[in-house]
């Protein structure tokens, strides 16, 4: 039999506060096959680790049980300690007496009793653990980045500049994302496209980056280090290598639709360039708004192009599927704005002069619909009184978004300040709940807006906006003076929040990554692993993970890129050896396990008429094991025998 050592962690008072450490350590020491049981204030500390190592050597232990925090925290730490003391690393088991015991119970007696049962289960399991070594697999040293906004571009450049090939998948006609739409950035008032544009061009010119525009990820197979990805590219009707952006096709196109880049404030043709600085610098034919491609109804654009002796336009283009092999994937899918029309109290969609912040942003932009002049959408007049409503549809768990989007306090301050620059005799009002200006130079910027800009900040919610005599009547409360306030405004701007991009939930499913309750990509650990999804090899960057501003996005993108590079830097990687195994003698060749495996790791050997496990493909889920009627399949270190032993151990 194995000689087992049990080590109980106090975790300061986190465990010791609710569980009687002495009692469970004594009880553990009396359990059959346990040679030694000891406790320590912090087993993860250096002296705690030394205690384990010394006991392994002194008592010639074969296996250890560490009763401490969740295995999600320190399983690897304690495996490495076991290994450092000469044990096989899979001879270490965690008994989770913190997250699932001391932290959730307050009755000391009952918690102690439960902790003892949890330890007994782990002892039973570790006694039956086999000696295993990690499986080594080769790594495909390329990366896939989904989303061509600032996060995707930054990550792509970082990975590419380290010498690895990158596929940058973008669903629209150009990379650039939301940042390309912004006029200025806070708190420096840098022109947004002026700082983004060079990066877009750099990504386009980088020989290691392949930009796939109009593309979406359709399927992901495989695992960390070896993903097989299918990317579906919509028909590319305009050849980006031929097109010289002469715009002759645009002149003749008869179809007009709202321009999404200008938040619908202007019109564009069915054939169009997404924006002046678009990368790749080529026109896009939007098949949905084109008068007809199948069968061809118009074809004016092609005629105009052909007349110039060019042949950029191919109206018979087909969708294409790219099959890519990559080792790491970074999801940088970004955000979109919450639908302001759902906030009926503000009258968005009813009164044309109620705008979202992104619409106002476009109006501020020199390349926007009004060339940077602020005008009322209804009559084109220059507004004098502008009301900004912060937290529009945010921090409202009952009716709209429960969370804070983090950037709205800052962009509203910037909008108000820029409005005052452009309309010096105008007045800006900001309704706010709290000003959240944590960030370098942020608080100072808000102060500047209030003091230099003369912007009036009113602390309170707006109850209603309605139209009266060509003015928008904004009724709210100033909670600091306790008085109701009424402002007759020319324009109302709603600071609506950020929501995950459309399709990000579907992408998460395809990537086998999870999303949180608001639909943002879930990180592996909120504090310590914010750059990774729970699925190995899938990394996260940008506002697709949670609302964040540009500097944070760029930092996270470089972080995710460095995580990906960490993986790509080595030609091989180690995988968990806890995979399925088959005992040939017991296999009846029924074949039930073959379709049960989601990873095609099981197959029938036609000659021997038995099933076979391809270990490199096995992810170790154990579904096949539960489907095997003959007990021929087992999951290494989580066998039926082990689970049965744990069931019995918990009985006491």
């Amino acid at each position: 039999m194995k000689r087992v050592g049990v080590f109980v962690c106090h975790c300061g008072l986190n465990i010791a506060g609710t569980v009687n450490i002495k009692e469970i350590t004594d009880a553990a020491s009396k359990t059959p096959d346990v040679v030694v049981a000891a406790d320590h204030r912090y087993l993860c500390s250096e002296p705690g680790q030394a205690l384990i190592k010394d006991n392994i050597k002194q008592h010639r232990l074969d296996a250890i049980v560490v009763a401490a925090c969740s295995p999600a925290m320190h399983e690897i730490t304690f495996r490495n300690i076991a290994r450092a003391a000469g044990l096989n690393r899979y001879q270490s088991e965690i008994a989770n007496i913190r997250e699932q015991c001391s932290w959730v119970h307050d009755n000391i007696e009952k918690a102690t009793e439960k902790a003892h049962v949890i330890i007994r289960q782990s002892i039973e399991k570790v006694k039956l653990n086999e000696l295993l070594d990690p499986i080594t697999v080769p790594v495909t040293r390329r990366a896939l980045i989904v989303g061509g906004g600032i996060a995707g571009i930054r990550a792509a450049l970082d990975v590419a500049n380290s010498g690895h090939q990158v596929y940058l998948v973008e669903k629209t006609g150009s990379i650039g994302g939301r940042m390309a739409q912004l006029s200025e950035t806070f708190p420096t008032l840098d022109c947004s496209i002026c700082i983004l544009g060079p990066l877009m061009v750099e990504a386009y010119r980088n020989p290691n980056i392949k930009i796939l525009r109009l593309s979406e990820v359709e399927e992901v197979k495989g695992f960390i280090g070896n993903f097989k990805v299918k990317v579906r590219q919509a028909p590319v009707y305009v050849d980006e290598t031929e097109c010289n952006s002469c715009a002759e096709c645009v002149k003749v196109c008869p179809a007009e639709v709202p321009n999404e880049f200008d938040s619908g404030l202007t019109w564009r043709k069915a054939i169009y360039i997404p924006f002046a600085q678009a990368v790749p610098p080529a026109y896009v034919l939007d098949a949905k708004s084109c008068l007809g491609l199948l069968p061809q109804a118009c074809g004016e654009c092609k005629k105009a192009c052909d007349k110039l002796g060019m042949s950029c336009i191919n109206l018979d283009a087909h969708p294409e599927t790219h099959e890519l092999e990559v080792g790491a994937i970074i999801s940088a899918t970004g955000y979109e704005m919450y639908d302001a029309a759902r906030l009926t109290e503000y009258g968005y969609g009813i009164y044309p002069d109620v705008m979202t912040s992104l619409e106002f942003e476009r109006m501020l932009s020199a390349s926007g619909p009004t060339s940077g002049v602020i005008r009322r959408p209804s009559d084109g007049r220059i507004p004098k009184e502008v009301v900004f409503i912060q937290c529009a549809g945010q921090r409202e768990p009952e009716t709209a978004l429960p969370y804070c989007s983090k950037v709205c306090c800052m962009y509203t301050a910037r909008h108000a300040m820029l409005f005052r620059h452009k309309v010096p005799d105008g007045q800006a009002y900001v309704f706010y709940m709290d000003i959240r200006a944590g960030g370098k130079g942020y608080e100072e910027f808000v102060k500047r807006t209030q003091e230099e800009g003369g912007v009036l900040y009113l602390r309170g919610r707006v109850a209603k906006v309605h139209e009266e005599n060509d003015k928008l009547v904004v009724k709210g409360v100033d909670t600091l003076s306790g008085k109701t306030v009424q402002i007759d405004a020319d324009v109302v701007v709603l600071a609506v929040g950020m929501v995950p991009s459309q399709g990000s939930r579907e992408l998460a499913n395809t990537l086998k990554a999870s999303v949180d309750e608001n639909g943002f990509f879930a990180e592996a650990h909120p504090k310590l692993r914010p750059l990774e999804s729970a699925t190995a090899g899938i990394f996260l960057a940008g506002a697709g993970q949670a609302p964040k501003d540009i500097p944070e996005t760029v930092a996270q993108a470089s972080g995710a890129a460095s995580k990906a590079l960490n993986l790509l830097s080595s030609p091989t990687l180690e995988r968990e050896p806890t995979v399925a195994r088959i005992v040939n003698e017991f296999c009846s060749g029924c074949g039930i396990c073959v379709p049960a495996c989601p990873f095609e790791a099981l197959s029938m050997n036609r000659e021997r008429k038995i099933a076979e496990v391809a270990e490199a493909l096995c992810e170790g889920c154990g579904t096949c094991v539960a489907s095997c009627p003959s007990g021929a399949l087992s999951l290494r270190n989580l066998t039926d025998t082990q689970i049965m032993a744990m069931i019995r151990a918990g009985r006491g």
Binding site: N96, W103, V104, E113, A596, C621, G622
Partner: protein, 137 residues
Amino acid sequence: MSQPRILAFLCRWCAYAGADLAGTTRKHYDPNLISIRVTCSGRIDPSFVLEALEEGYDGVLIAGCHPGTCHYISGNYKALRRFTLLRKLLRQMGVPDERVRLEWISASESDKFVTVVNEMVENLRKLEPAMPVEQHT
């Protein structure tokens, strides 16, 4: 252990992480539940549930990822199929439905985990305490 005793099979990606989150956020629940961390709800052989009942646990909880979010693509669907058959068998044996429960609990749903545990404890208190098969006469 406190009565009634519940054995939970929690998939490590969703339900076990959800149970851990209940701990991290200090959400208290009845100390009647012991968990076994499994790779996937698809790993759970119906015989584990039978074994637990035979051993005298008052209730068994199987919890995995929500449909469509299984870390192993489809393990939870297989768990659901097996559970449907198991439920039929248990009813034929006269085991009340309250004793065995299948739930989808994501890594962020610590509230749901706590609610499920407390509900099960409450429901099982209304039943006769279970007893290991060997003690039946």
